[in-house]
């Protein structure tokens, strides 16, 4: 515990725990608190962290005044709330039970490699979500049916596009465009179906609910930089969805000449 190697290991552990939480949708203050608590429980008297949605800075000083610091750059963020929960529990048990750094590293790697839900489950889940949101926003049985396959297709497309590492902006443009396209084509083919509720129900899959909420939460908590970054993120997502569905709608009206 007192050796240099151990102290470095602890710093890396804290930073990697923070990164795990941040990359999977945790708030910035949660990351800061967790890293500080970890460092203190492993015997660093002084620990300061600065976390933004795109990077982690952590600096610790031990009792003889030597300072160590570490930077972790966050390039890819997704939402896996199970990992946030597990990482939080791990940090908590380390702080209270004094798990050794080696054991903690093993647990951390296990959590990091925990698989998410498979596509056979997420695609139907997206289909149901889009379907029931369509009902919630005033659609009938016909609109529900169309939204089922629209939602499933959007999820399948975004899984495909993120597997080839396309950036988030274009995934949302494509998702918005697909929602509008499938809804308009279906509304034209099947009599008595309105496209609006289908499009709204389907783009609910893409709307930046987490980013908006975290943005205002961070800002009010005094983390101004994170707040602005997340506000920008949610604005970009909203613009991407609007651009995608807007282009398709505009072309449709130009070609079909009028609104159904």
């Amino acid at each position: 515990m007192n050796t240099n190697a151990d102290k470095h290991a602890i710093l890396h552990l804290a930073a990697d725990t923070g990164r795990l939480i941040l990359e999977n949708g945790g708030e910035t203050h949660r990351v800061e608190e967790t890293m500080n608590a970890l460092c203190r429980s492993f015997g660093y008297g002084d620990s300061e962290s600065f976390v933004t949605p795109t990077g982690i800075f952590l600096s610790v000083s031990d009792d003889d005044g030597r300072t160590r610091s570490i930077i972790r750059r966050i390039k890819h963020r997704s939402i896996n709330l199970n990992k946030v929960l597990l990482a939080g529990r791990l940090a908590e048990s380390v702080c209270s039970d004094r798990l050794s750094p080696v054991e903690m590293r093993r647990e951390l790697i296990r959590i990091e490699n925990e698989p998410g839900y498979a596509a056979w489950l997420t695609v139907p889940a997206a289909a149901l979500t889009a379907g029931f949101f369509t009902l919630l926003f005033g659609g009938g049985a016909g609109e529900f049916g169309v939204a089922l396959y629209t939602g499933g297709t959007i999820k399948a497309l975004s899984l495909l596009l993120s597997s080839i590492r396309l950036n988030e902006f274009f995934i949302n443009v494509a998702g918005g465009a697909l929602a509008a396209l499938l809804a308009l084509v279906s509304a034209a083919m099947i009599p008595g179906i309105q496209a609006n509720s289908i499009i709204i129900g389907s783009i609910m899959l893409l709307v930046p609910g987490l980013a908006i909420t975290n943005s205002i939460r961070d800002t009010l908590a005094g983390d101004l930089l994170s707040g602005i970054a997340r506000a920008m993120e949610s604005f970009l997502i909203a613009v991407a969805i609007a651009a995608g569905s807007g282009i398709v709608l505009k072309l449709w009206y130009l070609l079909a000449g009028g609104i159904r």
Partner: protein, 150 residues
Amino acid sequence: MIGPVAYAFIATLGFSILFNIRGFNVLLAALGGAAGWFAYLLSASLSGGPIFSFFIASIVVGVYAEVMARARRAPATTFAICAVIPLVPGGGMYYTMFESIQGNTARSLELGMETLITAGAIATGLVLVSSVANLIAYLSTGGRSDRISL
């Protein structure tokens, strides 16, 4: 009222799977979505006005999430993020864009403003609840600040 609340339940259920929540928490998160939508409908039917109703609904979601977080030893956001999704103004976003491509700039701006305010009302409701919850936790631990808030 039962119909829409059930729709919100299933829609939130789907979202909690998309956000990778595991086990029984999936159902609890979905229940939060239903509770939030119920609160919204109730408040709206008592003529609270839509934005005020979204604020009330997000407070209900926030309180539910904080209670569940303590009962299930999980971060409150696990429940809050999913349960708040039905309240997110996707419809407002869509109609803002729709009016804009129709060339109705004034109507589009009006709707855009309303959408922003709705989003703000929802987030403020959630923040209000979590601030009060933090305050209670802070007071009940006797001001110990080194706690990891799960």
